[in-house]
Amino acid sequence: MSAPPDGHADPRVAFEAAKLGLWTFLATEVLLFGALFAAYTVFRVKYPELFRSEHLKLNRVLGTLNTFVLITSSLAVVLGVDAIRRGKARLLEIYYGATVLLGAVFLVVKYIEWAGEFRHGRYPGTNIFFALYFMMTGLHGIHVILGMGALAYVVVLSRRGRFSAGYHTPVEVTGLYWHFVDLVWIYLLPLLYLIG
């Protein structure tokens, strides 16, 4: 075999490079959400009374329930990565499958919340608080959907016998992405539901 001269032929180097690439992507994601966090901060300072009165209209119980769902899904990802590091592909498929299901549960709860807001006549155009609420949870929801797709694809690849203890880079990097989705929600819960 004639290996290319760069270090990426070395599987260990390739893995480190892929991981660094994913962290770089997460850096751009921080700034994507960062624009909305900046808007939130500015308008919250400008209209504190509005934020205080409007945030009480959100369903704090469902927001908390969804936090439990996402944290649990993150644990499933950790256990899935741990499983394939020990070469247990079947176990990985179960854990990542569970994560996809928990992502679906999250979206259903989110749907119930949004439907409730619409029923009460609260739309993105109602005021700046609800504009930010729908933008931030909507952008986060898109990330949940994309993450579910990536995780499901990893399960499909694993079914085809692609991963082992020696090679499982896609498992690790999709896992990192899912934890990031969890991280964003960890901040959305207090900002939107708890302190407005």
């Binding site: 997460l26 966090f37 644990l75 960890i186 819960l189 207090p190 708890l194």
Partner: protein, 92 residues
């Protein structure tokens, strides 16, 4: 880079329980009126949870300095964006 052991799995379960407990605490605190302190407490708890997720679930604690740099520098930029925008709009 070390492979996970049963001990690491136990650690992650402990982190999971800590994350759930911190969530319960931050929700309970939100029902108590502490004035401006509510914001401080909520953000401190959120940051503690985020740190636990990054360090243990994302394995940041066993990463080298290059990955740490890629993880921390965006937070610095985020702070610049938020503070810069805030200063600009408040002094207008």
């Amino acid at each position: 880079m070390s492979h996970e052991t049963t001990g690491d799995r136990r650690t992650c379960l402990a982190i999971y329980v800590a994350l759930l407990l911190l969530t319960v605490v931050t929700v309970l605190v939100s029902y108590v009126d502490l004035g401006m302190l509510n914001v401080v407490v909520a953000l401190l708890i959120a940051s503690a949870k985020a740190s636990l997720v990054a360090l243990f679930f994302m394995h940041l604690r066993s990463e080298d300095r290059l990955v740490w740099g890629f993880a921390l520098v965006p937070i610095v930029f985020l702070a610049i964006i938020i503070l810069g925008t805030l200063v600009d709009t408040m002094l207008r």
